[in-house]
């Protein structure tokens, strides 16, 4: 056994003295350096969820369609025809702030592996990106680096990036968020899991060789706040090789057609250590690793480094005994290495041997089940109540509503995202039916008439002003976006990005967020099947706004019946479903035109929201609407403009019903509203359906001409306005 280490070494590993005491007590002795490294990553916030685990249990995770809930590499839902959709969202925030290109690239690589590890061929990816203010000097560099990194990895591996979101807020100036989502499709009865079984079965290492990159990525980079020295942590960021990952993907999927594999897990955060410990833990097994057999990229690596490396594009699998050659043959076809590096045992101990010495002998349960669980103190921040107060009398109406609309359309959070998504291959695979730029992406299920709709959403200003309601609204907006393309929402993957959980106000925000997701997911019948918690999004005492990113997946039974937001035909009637209230709080309008981040987010009635969804889906099924669009950030005026900007580029002429302030009518963000256009002959039928679901219906006007005419307050030329909207982001980024 190697020499035992002291408590001071544990400090350097980010473990508390209390945790150190617990480790010594569990083992009955001080750990070796290698063992301490293993504890540090396995008990890190990133791997153990020690601050969040107690609360995540509140989330609804079951449902008739759920094949796999949280706890595996990815979640899975049954699509009903023998297919399963396998998906997950995951954060790669700190690496992307420290090294934007590789940080974002390897975030994409990691989430792809999580999905194909389950036996699913990835068919689509999304990304949710949050940056600081565009006026912050570092922001353009980070935006360009992250977008290029995502493109580099996604474009080189042949999985289309079909959508996502990008937003800007000074709250992310010092800690950006990069959340990557991938969805794959697998036969429903052939999902692969990371549960080791079978004493004596070989543990096989496949993929790229192990180097020194990413050591302590999980413990020191992902589970601690950023500070002025964070750039020095660049060596903790991994380097991605999408080509190797493409080979790994094809080789794994080919191997999975046979019966050689018992269990498989990606070597992601905490690399060889977490993949072997977690597989053994889920199966109640022990495992012996022969570190001398691990394929290495560099000379002179130590056992400690081999155990903790986060080199990318590696997988660990447990094969049936005697099938080693069959596994090696498949990988050889793809020019990849497969090395038997260990075997399963029945003693429940994680052992690692190196140069004739046993450097680790740790009970697997000590690393997994015995990991600490914290119920950290939580307290509502005092400032919140003040921030939620808004006196409308102090908000002047804009002198020129047309100019106000143009300013909104050019603002960083509402302008076109074309500059971003034209850098992503969103077509490869040949199944992209609705491309980026609509409410949700639609991807056909190969060889069927069905399709999946995908979206990822969160309004962090809402969450900052009301962490509970903000989380509810993130779920609701995601569901509404799916409904807008004609899809029934099925299930959620969530990425919970918060600040330092050791701060009571952050912990309170987190608890509120989880409760919000729970309530909305229960009401909308969309279980959470996978996800990720990212804490410590804090830099020098400043925490990010709470950001529970919601990725949601929906199903269309008939892909031909999908809808897009864009007007299709001159003369079609424009209808608003839902009610506009005098709500200006937390709006983009207040932030952009008045420089105010305050007020309460818009009110929501989850039952009314459900009725709206039922109405829209029924109308879509009867093919009544020709376009359908969620009224979201920027309100009705922005939504009307967006419907004109895409497709054939048709103008609008609508009237405004008065009764509330004009700015609230135009730019307020009241929830549970949809904008649709339809031929006049379908209006009667739509009214019947709306009456049945008790959803307010207002005829606003019609699709007409080449300008945006809204009441007597806005009259803008369509072409010129669209160009300003389209070019705004590129212009702000400096080309």
């Amino acid at each position: 056994m190697s020499r035992a280490v002291s408590a001071e070494v544990a400090d350097e590993h980010g473990l508390t003295r209390e945790e150190w005491g617990r480790i010594v007590a569990l083992l009955g002795r001080p750990p070796t350096l290698e063992e301490l490294g293993v504890f540090a990553v396995m008990w890190s916030e990133h791997c153990s969820y020690k601050s969040s685990r107690a609360f995540l249990r509140q989330l609804p995770t079951r449902g008739p369609r759920v094949l796999q809930g949280p706890g595996e590499n990815a979640g899975a839902v049954d699509l009903g025809d023998g297919h399963a959709a396998v998906f997950k969202i995951e954060s790669h925030n700190h690496p992307s702030f420290v090294e934007p290109f590789q940080g974002a690239a390897t975030g994409v690589g990691g989430i792809l592996r999580d999905v194909f590890t389950m036996g699913a061929r990835p068919i689509a990816s999304l990304d949710s990106l949050r940056f600081g203010s565009l006026d912050h000097p570092r922001t353009p560099y980070l935006v360009k680096g992250v977008v290029a990194g995502i493109g580099h990895y996604g474009n080189s591996i042949g999985v289309p990036t079909v959508g996502g979101e990008i937003s800007f807020d000074p709250g992310y100036d010092h800690n950006i968020l990069v959340n990557a989502f991938t969805l794959g499709v697998a036969p429903a009865d052939r999902l692969f899991r990371a549960r080791a079984a079978g004493v004596g079965n070989p543990v096989i290492y496949v993929g790229a060789r192990t180097g020194r990159d990413g050591i302590h990525g999980a413990s020191l980079l992902a589970s601690a706040a950023l500070d002025a020295t964070s750039e020095e942590k660049r060596p903790a960021v991994q380097v991605g090789d999408p080509f190797t990952e493409k080979l790994l993907l094809e080789a794994c999927l080919q191997l999975m057609q046979g019966d050689d594999i018992v269990a498989i897990q990606d070597m992601g955060a905490a690399g060889l250590t977490s993949s072997s410990v977690e597989m053994a833990g889920r199966g109640g097994m022990g495992i012996v690793l022969e570190l001398d057999r691990v394929p290495l990229r560099e000379e002179g690596m130590t056992a400690y480094e081999i155990l903790l490396s986060e080199s990318q594009e590696r997988m660990l699998l447990v094969a049936q005994a005697g099938h080693e050659a069959a596994v090696a043959e498949v990988f050889a076809r793809w020019d990849l290495e497969a090395a038997v590096v260990g075997r399963l045992t029945d003693d429940g101990v994680f052992r690692a041997r190196w140069r004739g010495e046993e450097v680790c002998a740790l009970p697997v349960a000590a690393l997994t089940e015995a990991a600490p669980v914290y119920r950290r103190p939580a307290e509502e921040p005092a400032r919140l109540e003040e921030l939620q107060r808004l006196d409308p009398a102090e908000i002047p109406e804009p002198a020129d509503h047309g100019q106000a609309l143009v300013r909104l359309l050019e603002s960083p959070n509402l302008c076109a995202r074309e500059w971003v998504y034209r850098q992503y291959d969103h077509l490869v695979g040949g199944n992209t039916v609705v491309r980026p730029g609509a409410d949700a992406a639609v991807v056909r299920l190969e060889g069927t008439r069905r399709a999946l709709a995908l979206t990822v959403d969160c309004n962090s200003r809402y969450c900052r002003l009301d962490p509970y309601l903000g989380a509810v609204l993130a779920v609701v907006e995601a569901a509404r976006n799916l409904v807008a393309v004609g899809a029934r929402p099925l299930a959620v993957s969530d990425c919970l990005n918060y600040g330092n959980p050791e701060k009571p106000d952050v912990m309170w925000e987190f608890q509120q967020g989880v409760q919000g997701i729970r309530d909305a997911c229960v009401a909308l019948d969309t279980p959470v099947v996978s996800g990720n918690v990212s804490f410590y999004n804090e830099t020098e005492g400043r925490n990010i706004p709470p950001t529970p990113t919601i990725a949601m997946v929906g199903l269309l039974d008939d892909v031909e019946a999908h809808l897009t937001p864009w007007w299709k035909a001159e003369g079609d009637v424009i209808v608003l479903l839902g009610r506009t209230r005098e709500e200006l709080g937390a709006s983009e309008y207040l932030a952009v035109l008045h420089g105010l981040v305050r007020g309460a987010p818009p009110w929501i009635d989850l039952e009314a929201e459900r009725r709206l969804h039922r109405l829209c889906l029924a109308a879509a099924e009867e093919r009544l609407p020709r376009s359908l669009h969620d009224v979201g950030e920027g309100g009705l005026a922005v939504a009307l403009a967006e419907c004109s900007f895409g497709g054939p580029g048709l103008g609008v002429r609508v009237d405004l019903e008065q009764g509330i302030r004009t700015d609230a009518l135009l730019f307020g963000e009241s929830q549970s509203r949809m904008l649709l256009s339809l031929p006049r002959r379908h209006l009667g039928r739509l009214r019947d359906l709306a009456r049945r679901e008790d959803v307010p219906l207002t005829i606003l006007g019609e699709v007409r001409g080449r300008s945006l005419v809204i009441g007597d307050v806005i009259d803008l030329p369509l072409e010129a306005t669209r160009e300003r909207w389209r070019r705004a982001l590129e212009r702000r980024l400096g080309g």
């Binding site: 493409k246 034209r422 850098q423």
Partner: protein
């Protein structure tokens, strides 16, 4: 007819090409492995899009040394049909089966968007179902699609009517705005002197269904089918330069 789609390690649009030829056209379509030395009797070889061997050195630079490329070169010498799409076009240039080279986009960014191209000649197996001057909408998606060649080569290409597609606006004008990557003379695709090898940066295999964004590419694939059917009836397939 029988299509063969070469699968290099790192090929990405191979499945899309197989779907276009197999599922959409209803032809026989087979995957050809890069380590193979035989084309299995296919009528037309497609070198698909992607990043063969990762393209870390230079696009197509590794692929030209793969065993299958010897068979492709033989197929070309025998007058067989070869279509290179995107990375396939890059490989054909690297392998010397088409002149010139494809370099980094002028914008230095990857670009994925629909473009319009003008059919410059109907005198190839790939375009004879179109009229010269016709404008098609096809998507591009590449980081290195800027076509370059020396002046003598460009002059010869124009003189021999070997520019097959040019980036233009919808009205067929080859404007700088219509050029997504900075290609010289807005060149989007070209053919060999014998006209049996065509390479292009846009992706016709991604334009074969209205549901997923238009069907202009379908007419190009139909051209190949008709050409092969006629060749089967009338002998060798190469046509005189037009």
């Amino acid at each position: 007819m029988r299509w063969g789609v070469v699968v290099f390690p790192g090929s990405l649009d191979d499945r899309d090409a197989l779907r276009a030829a197999g599922c959409v056209l209803g032809d026989e379509a087979v995957a050809l492995w890069h380590k193979d030395r035989d084309l299995g009797g296919v009528d037309c070889v497609i070198l698909p899009g992607g990043f063969s061997y990762g393209d870390y050195l230079r696009c197509g630079a590794m692929a030209k040394f793969s065993p299958i490329m010897e068979a492709v070169a033989r197929h070309v010498r025998d007058g067989g049909l070869v279509l290179g799409i995107c990375n396939g076009f890059q490989i054909l240039c690297e392998a010397g089966l088409l002149p010139g080279a494809l370099v980094r986009n002028r914008s230095l960014s990857f670009v994925c968007e629909p473009v319009t191209v003008r059919v410059e000649t109907a005198e190839t197996f790939f375009t004879h179902g179109c009229r010269a001057g016709e404008v098609l909408e096809l998507p591009v998606k590449h980081g290195e699609g800027c076509y370059v060649a020396d002046e003598a080569t460009l002059a010869a290409l124009e003189r021999e009517h070997r520019v097959v597609f040019r980036y233009t606006d919808r009205a067929g004008r080859p404007t700088p705005e219509a050029n997504p990557n900075g290609s010289l003379q807005n060149i989007a695709g070209l053919c060999s002197a014998e006209r049996n090898v065509v390479g292009l940066m846009p992706h016709p295999e991604h334009a074969v269904e209205h549901l997923t964004g238009g069907a202009d590419g379908l007419r190009l694939f139909r051209s190949v089918e008709a050409w092969v059917a006629r060749g089967a009836a009338a002998g060798p397939a190469a046509s005189a330069p037009g």
